[in-house]
């Protein structure tokens, strides 16, 4: 029986540039799979790779022993399609899986910073400008998530992330 391909995506607090992938495929490998390749594309179909990578993909070798890979690819929060191919030794694709994901750690980190600031300072949250933009940042993050989960809409998700980015890149204007 061939494997049922799958993988999870995550990020680590303090490392917003990085995407963590974990191979969670199940079943027995009858296709002599030896490695995976990871293709990440943005809303316009551009390939996102680590600095120095000359291909459109990142190699994820040593299947099945190595189940995780960390990719340093995000200059800012992005909605991306992540496609993982499972290949045999002849580089023939045996299985493939694509998952639309949004990565929001830049925005969430700043949101948590604002939350800490306002939770101990009523002056801040009583400031209409601060409060309005604090909520706007939350809504943008939520919208980015919902666009992916509920609508599978990479464009709307990226648009929401761009709105969040505008807020966190100009803190003196908005907060």
């Amino acid at each position: 029986m061939a494997i049922t391909p799958n993988f999870t995506r995550g990020q680590t607090l303090g490392l917003p540039r990085e995407i963590n992938l974990v191979d969670t495929s199940t079943g027995s490998d009858t296709q002599s799979i030896t490695k995976r390749r990871v293709y990440i594309t943005d809303k316009d179909g551009n390939y996102i790779v680590e600095e120095g990578t000359t291909t459109d993909y990142e190699e994820w070798n040593d299947y099945p022993a190595t189940t995780t890979i960390t990719l340093d690819v995000l200059d800012y929060d992005m909605a991306v399609n992540i496609r993982v191919d499972w290949l045999n030794a002849s580089n023939v694709v045996q299985q493939t899986k694509t998952i639309l994901s949004d990565f929001t750690l830049y925005a969430k980190t700043y949101y948590m910073f604002l939350t800490k600031a306002q939770s101990s300072n009523s002056n801040l949250r009583n400031n209409a400008n601060f409060y309005q933009n604090y909520i706007k940042l939350l809504v943008s993050i939520k919208e980015a998530d919902d666009s992916v989960v509920l609508l599978s809409d990479i464009g709307s998700s990226q648009a929401a992330l761009n709105r969040a980015r505008k807020l966190i890149d100009n803190p003196s204007n908005f907060f």
Binding site: S119, L124, P171, S172
Partner: protein, 189 residues
């Protein structure tokens, strides 16, 4: 006994529901409940929840969680039924702006004269005997002349203000406070 993060999240969730219901009914505070309270509770709870998911041992969980419960305690019914007892910090106190700080620079900094001779910055966050102006904007006047926060570009002085942290800075080519100089900081909304 201290509440766990999960307990704080649960309490905030319940308070948010109570607050929404009471807001609709207009029962709380004679109908004067801050309309933002349900969304404020949700927004603060969301920040705590994300941090808890990302790093369950993060040191910021405690101050955010305590702040969240303090906001909950504003809501009398939720406080009595869920949290129980304690003081009631206001979410939206009807307070006036802090007093302006008007001083002549001397050799010693204080709450009423926050910059001393040769100094270029002070943190107005309520620590070190300084007033807490975080959350406000400020207008700054030096020698009777209102100052910009944007660099005029002609070498003259200007100032910086971070209302999140309370950092107030004198900027420019020779920004240091000079003995005897007249200065004024006006908190504005």
């Amino acid at each position: 006994m201290a509440l766990t993060v999960q307990q704080q999240l649960n309490i905030a969730n319940a308070c948010s529901i109570y607050a929404s219901n009471e807001l609709v009914s207009g029962k709380v505070d004679g109908g004067l409940l801050d309309e933002r309270l349900p969304s404020l509770l949700f927004a603060t709870r969301q920040g705590l929840e994300w941090l808890y998911e990302l790093d369950p041992t993060n040191e910021d969980l405690t101050p955010i969680g305590n702040g969240l419960i303090a906001i909950c305690k504003h809501y009398a019914k939720a406080e009595n039924e869920i949290v129980g007892g304690g003081s009631v910090p206001s979410v939206n106190p009807n307070t006036a702006l802090p007093q302006p700080i008007d001083w002549r620079v001397s050799g010693t900094a204080s709450a009423t004269a926050p910059l001393a001779t040769d100094e270029t910055s002070v943190v107005l966050d309520g620590t070190n005997g300084m007033p807490d102006l975080r959350g406000y904007n400020v207008a700054y006047t030096r020698g009777g002349i209102p100052q910009y926060t944007t660099n005029p570009g002609d070498g003259s002085n200007y100032y910086g203000w971070d209302r999140l942290t309370g950092l107030f800075q004198l900027l420019g080519s020779a920004p240091s406070a000079v003995l005897g100089e007249q200065m004024r900081i006006d908190p504005i909304s």
